[in-house]
C-alpha cells in the first residue's frame, strides 16, 4: 500500500484496515521530562523481542530543562522498526506522536517528516486558558496541514487522566499502549517489557503502568483507526538491546581492562555513567579525573604500572589529551583511547554526530606519532573493538584509538548477545624476573615490537622517558637514536598491516561507482547502495574499519571502479563553491587520507549538519552521479 492510503485509513474511522509494511518509523516528541524516551525505548525493545529489526535514536535538546513548548527544546525519540535488521535511523518518519505543536515545528526544521507523515497531536492546547497558546496551536495545526502532514488531534491527556492522577509521569506508558496497538506490537511482549523496565520498583508500579498501557491500547482501538503490520522474523538467536556507549562499557569489561579514567564530556560520558554503575562487579574502577589531561595521564600511569587502562573522551577532550597521546606513542605505553566523536571544531555541536576527528587522531601530535586507529561501524562493534584494542595495544606496545560517534552512542538496537570468552580478558600481571641483558626497548629488527618491563619485575628497572631515547631508554644525545626510535615505532604499523586482509566489497567487485565509508554510516550507505543496485545502477560499497594502518589492497579495489567516492559526516568544500576547483578543494577526511595513500582520485560527499546520514540522501547522490536512475 502506498503512503497516501494511510491517510485514507485515518479518514475512514469506521473501517479500519491493517497496512502491511516492510518497515515503519515512529517518533514521539515532547517537552523535556515527559518520558517520551522511555516509551520509545520500550517500544523498540518490544519490537526486538518480537524479532523485528530496530534502530532507536533519542532526540536530545541542548539544554537539560529547556522552556516548555519551545521549538529548540524538542525532546523525544525516533524508532525505526523493520522486518529485516535495521542499521540506521532511516529517512522521514511515518508516524509522530507530538505532545505539543511547538516541538513538532522543531522536528520539521530538522526535516524529520514528509508529506503524508501522520501526526497524532495532543489537542488540549486548543482550550488552553492562555489565548497566545490557543492561537499558536491553531496556527500550527493550519501550518502542518498546509505542509501535507496528516494531523489527527487527540485528547491524550484527558484520556490519560481517567486512569491516573499523575499524568506527567504516566502519560508515556499510555502513549506506548497506543503505539503498540497501532503498529501491531505483541501486547504480551509489551507487558513483559514493562515488567522488566519497572521490575526494580514495586509490583504496584508495574501494575499501574500495565493499566496505563492497556488504557492507551483501548484508546487507540476506539479512536485511532490506523493499524500497521510490520512482520517480524522468527527470533533464532539470543539478542541484547543496547546503545553504543553501553556496548563500549561492556566491551571494556569483556576485555578485562580494569581502569577507565575520564572527565565528563558529551557524548562520551554516558559510557562512563554506565561503567560507573557496574565496573566494580568485574573488579574495575572508573576514575573521574580533574581534567581531560589528568584523565589520560592517570590511565597512562595505570598502564605503565600494570594492566592496560582506558580513557574515553570526545573532541575537545581529545584536543587536550594530545600531548599525553604523543608520550604514549613515544614511550610505547599500551593504552586504549575511545573517542566518541561529536561536531567540531571547538565546542562545536556537543550532542550531534560528526566523523570529524579522524585526521586529528592520526596526525594530531607534533612529530611522527604512529598509532593504531580503528573505527566501529555498528553497535556490535562498539562491544568488540575495545577487546581487540586492548590486545593490539599490548601486542604492539602502543596506544590504540577506537573511534565511535554520537550516532552510535545514542542509537539503540538489538545485537547478537556476545558470548564472553576467557581469552578476551587481560592476563594477570606477570612479575617474574626480567633478564637484565634485555633492554627495555628491545626493538625487533623486522617488526619494531619489544617486550615491556613492568614495575616490580626484578632486573627490568628502566626510566621511561618522553625524550628521544635509545633501546636502553637512555636520553639520546646522538643523531641516530631518534631516527632509530621513530623507525622502530613506525615498523610496528607495517607489521600490523601485514596481518590485515583487504576489505570486502559489498556488491559487484567492479562497476561505475564505489562508495567508501567508515564509522557509523555503514548502515545508511549499504541501504542506499542496495536501493540503487535494485534500480540497476552499477554501484558497490566498501567500509573501512582500520584507519591506521590503513587496510591493504585498496588501490587495487579502487582501480576496478570508474569513480570512487567517500561518504562521510565531516566537512568538505562543495566542488563548485566560490574559489574552489580541481586545483584547490578541501576534501572530507577519509577521502584526503585515501588520496594520499592510494594515489587514486577519490572524490567525496559529506556534510556537517550534525545528523546521521540518511539512506535517501546518499541514494540521491549516487543516482545523480550515475546519470539519473529511478528514485
Amino acid at each position: 500500500m502506498g503512503k497516501s492510503d494511510k491517510a485514507q485509513a485515518l479518514a475512514e474511522p469506521k473501517d479500519p484496515t491493517i497496512t502491511r509494511v516492510e518497515e515503519h518509523t515512529i517518533e514521539i516528541v515532547s517537552d523535556s521530562g515527559e518520558g517520551a524516551q522511555k516509551a520509545g525505548q520500550a517500544y523498540g525493545a518490544i519490537s526486538a523481542r518480537m524479532g523485528n529489526g530496530v534502530w532507536t535514536v533519542e532526540i536530545i535538546p541542548a539544554e537539560i530543562k529547556p522552556p516548555a513548548r519551545s521549538r529548540a527544546g524538542a525532546s523525544g525519540i525516533r524508532v525505526r522498526v523493520g522486518s529485516k535488521p535495521v542499521t540506521n535511523m532511516g529517512d522521514e518518519a511515518d508516524l509522530v506522536v507530538a505532545l505539543n505543536e511547538q516541538v513538532l515545528y522543531g522536528r520539521i526544521a530538522q526535516k524529520a517528516y514528509r508529506k503524508g507523515t501522520v501526526v497524532l497531536l495532543e489537542n488540549r492546547w486548543a482550550d488552553d486558558p492562555q489565548e497566545a497558546i490557543r492561537v499558536a496551536y491553531a496556527e500550527g495545526l493550519r501550518h502542518f496541514r498546509e505542509q501535507g502532514l496528516v494531523v489527527h488531534e487527540l485528547a491524550l491527556e484527558s484520556a490519560c487522566r481517567k486512569v491516573t492522577q499523575d499524568v506527567a509521569v504516566g502519560k508515556n506508558m499510555f502513549v506506548l499502549g497506543m503505539l503498540c496497538r497501532i503498529c501491531g506490537r505483541d501486547p504480551q511482549k509489551a507487558r513483559e517489557e514493562i515488567a522488566a523496565v519497572f521490575g526494580k520498583k514495586s509490583k504496584d508500579v508495574v501494575a499501574k503502568n500495565h493499566g496505563l498501557f492497556d488504557a492507551g491500547w483501548r484508546f487507540a482501538e476506539e479512536q485511532i483507526p490506523l493499524r500497521f503490520l510490520i512482520p517480524p522474523a522468527p527470533v533464532t538467536s539470543r539478542l541484547c538491546v543496547m546503545n553504543g556507549n553501553q556496548a563500549l562499557g561492556l566491551g571494556i569489561m569483556a576485555a578485562g581492562m580494569e581502569m577507565v579514567a575520564m572527565y565528563p564530556i558529551t557524548p562520551a560520558t554516558s559510557a562512563s555513567h554506565y561503567l560507573a554503575g557496574v565496573f566494580g562487579k568485574v573488579g574495575g574502577c572508573v576514575h573521574q579525573a580533574e581534567d581531560e589531561i589528568a584523565a589520560i595521564g592517570f590511565a597512562i600511569g595505570a598502564s605503565y604500572a600494570g594492566k592496560t587502562a582506558c580513557t574515553i573522551t570526545s573532541g575537545p577532550g581529545l584536543a587536550l589529551k594530545t600531548e599525553f597521546l604523543g608520550l604514549a606513542v613515544m614511550a610505547e605505553i599500551p593504552l586504549v583511547v575511545v573517542v566518541v566523536q561529536r561536531g567540531g571544531p571547538s565546542t562545536g555541536l556537543p550532542t550531534k554526530v560528526e566523523q570529524g576527528d579522524l585526521l586529528a587522531v592520526l596526525y594530531g601530535q607534533p612529530g611522527d606519532a604512529p598509532k593504531i586507529v580503528i573505527a566501529a561501524a555498528t553497535i556490535e562493534e562498539c562491544f568488540h573493538l575495545p577487546i581487540a584494542a586492548r590486545r593490539l595495544a599490548e601486542a604492539f606496545r602502543t596506544p590504540v584509538i577506537v573511534l565511535t560517534d554520537a550516532n552510535l552512542a545514542t542509537g539503540v538496537a538489538p545485537v547478537p548477545r556476545p558470548e564472553p570468552q576467557p581469552d578476551w580478558l587481560a592476563p594477570p600481571l606477570d612479575l617474574a624476573a626480567w633478564d637484565p641483558a634485555v633492554p627495555p626497548y628491545d626493538w625487533d629488527e623486522r617488526s619494531g615490537i619489544s617486550p615491556r618491563p613492568i614495575p616490580g619485575q626484578r632486573g627490568g628497572e628502566y626510566v621511561l622517558t618522553g625524550l628521544a631515547h635509545t633501546k636502553q631508554s637512555k636520553v639520546a644525545y646522538d643523531p641516530d637514536s631518534n631516527q632509530n626510535g621513530c623507525a622502530a615505532r613506525s615498523k610496528k604499523l607495517a607489521a600490523f598491516r601485514g596481518t590485515l586482509v583487504p576489505p570486502t566489497v559489498e556488491g559487484d567487485p567492479d562497476g561505475d561507482l564505489l562508495v567508501v565509508g567508515w564509522g557509523s554510516s555503514l548502515g545508511a550507505i549499504r541501504e542506499a547502495v542496495d536501493r540503487a543496485r535494485g534500480e540497476g545502477l552499477r554501484v558497490s560499497s566498501l567500509h573501512v574499519r582500520f584507519l591506521s594502518p590503513l587496510e591493504p589492497g585498496l588501490a587495487a579495489i579502487f582501480a576496478r571502479f570508474r569513480q570512487v567516492m567517500t561518504v562521510e559526516i565531516n566537512y568538505s568544500d562543495e566542488p563548485d563553491a566560490p574559489g574552489v576547483g580541481p586545483e584547490y578543494r578541501r576534501r572530507a577526511q577519509l577521502a584526503t587520507l585515501l588520496r594520499g595513500e592510494t594515489l587514486v582520485d577519490v572524490d567525496c560527499w559529506s556534510n556537517v549538519h550534525g545528523q546521521p546520514l540518511r539512506p535517501g540522501h546518499i541514494h540521491a547522490e549516487i543516482a545523480r552521479r550515475l546519470g539519473g536512475g529511478k528514485h
Binding site: 562487579k281 574495575g284 574502577c285 597512562i300 626510566v463
Partner: protein, 318 residues
C-alpha cells in the same frame, strides 16, 4: 657440636642493597646544584630501609629536577611538563604496593601543573612528592617562576618579577585533604633526609617543599637563609623529624609545634617572611586516601569476572 643449636643458620638476607644499587649513573646537574643533595638523601633512605629497588617508581615532570628518575636505579617515569602527579596517581591506583616518589619543580608543580597539584593533594595517595623549589625555571634558562621573589631579574622579567611569589605552603595548607606538609632545605643534609624520611613514612601524600639552590640562575635567593640560620625556624616536637643534637643546635630559632594543629601550621606558614619554617607543618594520617577506593576489586579471578559479565549481559537480553 661446637655448642651451636641444631637449627642454627647464618641469617643473611637473600639480597642486600648498597647505595650503588639505587644509583642510576652520574647525575648531569650543574656542579653545586641542590638536586644532588636530594638525590643522595633519597638513595640513603632507601638503602637504610633496604627497600627493594624494583618496587620503587620515581615519577617526574619536565625541568632540571625532573631528571631525578634517570639518576635512580629503580623504575622511573620521566613524563610531561606539569603532569607527574596524574601519572603517579595512576601508577598507585591499581598497584598500591609500589613505592612512589614524585620529583617536581616550582614551574612544573605550581605553574603548568597547578591544577593537578591541588587535586593530587585531595586524592592523598600514599606517595612522596618532592617540590624542588629553586624559584626559577632553570632548564629553559632563567624565566620567572611562580615562586620567584618579587623583583627577581629574569629573561622574561628583565626589570624584575612583577608579582609577589606564590607560597606553596600556604596554598597546600588550604587545599582540602592535605595530609602532610613539610619544608626543608637542600643545604642541611641531615634535616633534608630526616624530613623526606618522615614524608616517606607518612601514610598518604607526603609533600615536601625543598628550598633548593640553583648555582647558575638563582645562586643568591637562599644565600641569606644559608648564611644566617637564625632566619630559619626549626619546628620541634615529638612528631618532628629526629635531628642529632649537633644539627639542631645550629638553629637558634626553634618552635615546639604540634603538627596536627592546622591553625598553628597556617600561622607558621604565613609568617615565613619573618622566619622560614623547616620541619613538618602539618600531618594527619586520618585523611581518606584515594587508593582505598580505586583498589576495591583487585584480585578478582577470571571466572568471577566472566560470571559477572554474563549476568550483566543478561540484563540487556530480550
Amino acid at each position: 657440636m661446637f655448642g651451636l643449636k641444631d637449627d642454627w643458620s647464618y641469617d643473611m638476607p637473600e639480597r642486600y642493597f648498597t647505595l650503588e644499587d639505587y644509583e642510576g649513573g652520574v647525575a648531569r646537574w650543574c656542579p653545586g646544584c641542590g638536586d644532588l643533595a636530594v638525590l643522595t638523601a633519597v638513595q640513603k633512605i632507601l638503602r637504610d630501609a633496604q627497600q627493594v629497588p624494583e618496587n620503587t617508581v620515581c615519577v617526574s615532570g619536565i625541568g632540571c629536577s625532573s631528571r631525578f628518575p634517570h639518576y635512580m636505579k629503580t623504575y622511573g617515569f620521566h613524563g610531561l611538563h606539569g603532569r607527574p602527579l596524574p601519572v603517579a596517581c595512576g601508577v598507585k591506583s591499581r598497584r598500591p604496593e609500589l613505592d612512589v616518589w614524585v620529583a617536581t619543580g616550582d614551574g612544573d608543580c605550581c605553574s603548568i601543573g597547578a591544577g593537578h597539584w591541588l587535586h593530587a593533594i585531595r586524592y592523598n595517595m600514599d606517595m612522596v612528592v618532592m617540590l624542588f623549589d629553586n624559584n626559577v625555571y632553570g632548564l629553559t634558562k632563567k624565566q620567572t617562576s611562580p615562586t620567584s621573589p618579587l623583583g627577581l631579574k629574569t629573561n622574561t622579567h628583565p626589570q624584575g618579577a612583577w608579582l609577589p611569589p606564590l607560597d606553596p605552603l600556604v596554598a597546600m595548607l588550604g587545599f582540602t585533604n592535605s595530609s602532610f606538609v613539610a619544608q626543608t632545605v637542600d643545604w642541611n643534609p641531615a634535616h633534608l633526609q630526616a624530613t623526606l624520611h618522615a614524608a616517606w613514612q607518612h601514610k598518604g601524600l607526603g609533600f615536601v617543599r625543598i628550598l633548593q639552590r640553583c648555582p647558575t640562575y638563582t645562586d643568591s635567593v637562599f644565600e641569606e637563609l644559608q648564611k644566617d640560620p637564625s632566619r630559619l625556624l626549626l619546628l620541634t616536637g615529638a612528631k618532628q623529624p629526629a635531628l642529632a643534637a649537633g644539627v639542631a643546635r645550629i638553629f637558634v630559632n626553634q618552635r615546639d609545634h604540634d603538627s596536627l594543629d592546622l591553625g598553628a601550621a597556617r600561622s607558621i606558614a604565613s609568617s615565613a617572611h619573618e622566619r622560614v619554617p623547616i620541619g613538618v607543618l602539618f600531618q594527619d594520617e586520618s585523611r581518606p586516601r584515594y587508593e582505598d577506593f580505586t583498589t576495591v576489586g583487585l584480585g578478582m579471578t577470571p571466572e568471577q569476572k566472566l560470571a559477572a559479565l554474563e549476568r550483566e549481559l543478561d540484563r540487556f537480553a530480550v
